[in-house]
Amino acid sequence: MSVLILSSENKELENQIAQKTAERLGYTTLDQQFYNEIAKKYTLDSKKLMDAMIITPSFLKRMPSKQWYYYLSCVEVEVLARLLEDNCVCWGLAAHLYVVVISHVLKVRLIGGHSLMSPGQGNMNEDKIKKIIAEQERSRENWSMTAYNRKEADPGLYDMVINLDQVQPDEAVDTLSTTMGYPRLKAMTYSKNNLADRALAARVKNVLLKSLTDIQVDAQNGTVVVTTASVKREKSKKIDTIKKIAAQVEGIGYLEVHWNKDMLTEAAMSYR
């Protein structure tokens, strides 16, 4: 079981390369069509879900912060569950931002290739294309920093970056297919357990974010650590609530809750 995660601003080429690589390797695919399934499962507005993956929380756009984080966590839970199942090529679901340090997952960024656009878009001049790309990159960086505190274009996030200005899409498919065959990327019990830990943490976070805010979750070998913050007087209540809600999640061996004082809110409230 191995996983390939692609990320690119060039959606057309990303789609093309992902599909061809999956076909070549005999892997399943996981892309933005999955949003409909997620929306159905969690009874969410599918348009709002897709918006949440593009825009940051905004009062004007009717996407409050709490709802936004919850939507993101729904996507995370379902994507991680799917990645645990089978050999898969995944793109368009921001998985490169939350699937980290799993040795059988190869994360690749595809850049450039805008001169290979389809005829309809080819009418724009180069400067305009560059402007659009720069704007897209700024917007994505803003989103990824808000959502996961990571810059989407940061090369440190990826195992490989392929520049499609020189490398043709078919050649990129060749490169990816060959790379996925390297022994280092073979799934092993250790790496599968690491991914399962991430999936468990995501499930716990998801149930908690339904009604709570300020939740971080880590998991290792069934031990789950939830970190949260609140004002001092709400500490016990919040911890109890977390323990009660998290207990519903299957797979938790041991649950620990760490509490930090929310200094800003505490300071704001002390003036009342």
């Binding site: 040795s103 022994p183 280092r184 073979k186 092993m188 019990t189 250790y190 790496s191 070998n221």
Partner: protein
Amino acid sequence: MSNLLEILLLDDEAIVGKRLKPALEKMNCNVEVFQDPQLAVGRINEKEFDIVVTDIYMDDMDGMQVLDIVHEKSPRTKVIMITGYAMISLARDAMEKGAFDFIAKPFKPDDLRVVIAKAAKALGSPIDLNPLTRE
């Protein structure tokens, strides 16, 4: 000719062999347990094992060296690495060297049984995880 899966288990902690040997023998496996890597290597040179389960960090010799020795002697043998100091880089190196699997301690005996069953399947000699229930 024996149909038993021949397994060598090497770990410098005696408790590991004590816990795992009975669990693997339930699967119709013949298990030889060693704590001393030198003795284990000596035995590997005498007999071809189907599966070798080895700890990584040991005093005289580390598991990666054992992996190299096993593959030199018998490329078909599946080597499963176990360690209490699992790190991604170590895991990747082990897989690159041809390890069949890499498991971080602590793990339950059942976890290893599942991996052994996979290794047996890969060898073309599938085994039943719970043969006693069928009798």
